[in-house]
Symmetry: C2
DNA sequence: CCGGATCCGTTTCGATACTG
DNA sequence: CAGTATCGAAACGGATCCGG
């Protein structure tokens, strides 16, 4: 675990967006958060097989980063014992509005994407409601996990 | 101008977020868009001096990328003749909701940032109104520029 | 001077192989 | 299964050069 903070100390951030981008401004981090939010992925292997061909070392480092930054927590697998599960914290859950807006933008401007049109319609119609729904479900799950 | 698309062809994106991140998932692109939206920067030199120490080659490449992707346009300077000005297109302007949500998240979780508290309060209270205001002003500016 | 383009040393990424 | 080790490739960053 010698990774942690290498890139975040070089820019004397002066605005909330720059601060956020210090953590999220790379090709993979937000994609992992997306998988945690929309696809319900929780385990290393799921992210690996998640379609986007992330390398194992990159995935490990990003998961580590997310934990160091307090966006995610790692828990032992309830039965397996040799695997872990990753859950978003409140801080990570609070990124859902960003993901929703990013989805809407991406859906508007990139013709080919395999996103369920139903969810997109809901997002367009009432983004706050979609955010609230996802947030509630993830918070509930987090509450259960934390007690264990 | 041989740059253009080098990184975007490697990932067979399957969701709007991945598509969006293909363009925006790096350390600088969204920062430049932020400067176009919130700081009113329009010229190369402004971005360079904008505080974050971006290198000239990186800046040039990112501005080029934004133009190739249709997020920005480059116009001649009205009086100087040897400088340019960059403006967001509608596609770029549509990123404002993302920036606003990113601002709110960053402001919530990073204590030290030099963002005007007034705007943050407005964003928290009524993000849609803030988005609409910024959008209207940028669209108007774009309209004027396009006629010239 | 302004807006880049080019060169080059350094850092980070990413694919594969390997380990507990 | 969940990572680490390695190593080549790409990106970054600084400096410098160039055309207008």
């Amino acid at each position: 675990m010698k990774s942690a903070r290498r890139s975040s100390d070089c820019r004397r951030s002066s605005c909330p967006i720059a601060n956020a981008l210090d953590l999220l401004g790379d090709r993979w981090t937000l994609l992992i958060v997306r998988d945690l939010v929309f696809r319900g992925f929780r385990e290393f292997g799921q992210f690996l097989a998640g379609g986007e061909r992330i390398a194992t070392n990159i995935l490990a480092e990003r998961l580590d980063r997310l934990r160091c930054a307090g966006l995610a927590v790692r828990c032992d697998h309830p039965v397996d014992g040799k695997r872990y599960r990753y859950y978003l914290t409140e801080k990570g859950i609070d990124l859902i509005p960003v993901l929703v807006q990013l989805s809407l933008w991406g859906a508007k401007y990139t013709p080919d994407h395999a996103a369920p049109e139903k969810v997109l319609r809901e997002m367009r119609a009432d983004p706050d409601r979609v955010v609230a729904g996802l947030r509630a479900s993830l918070l509930k799950e987090l509450g259960v996990v934390r007690k264990s």
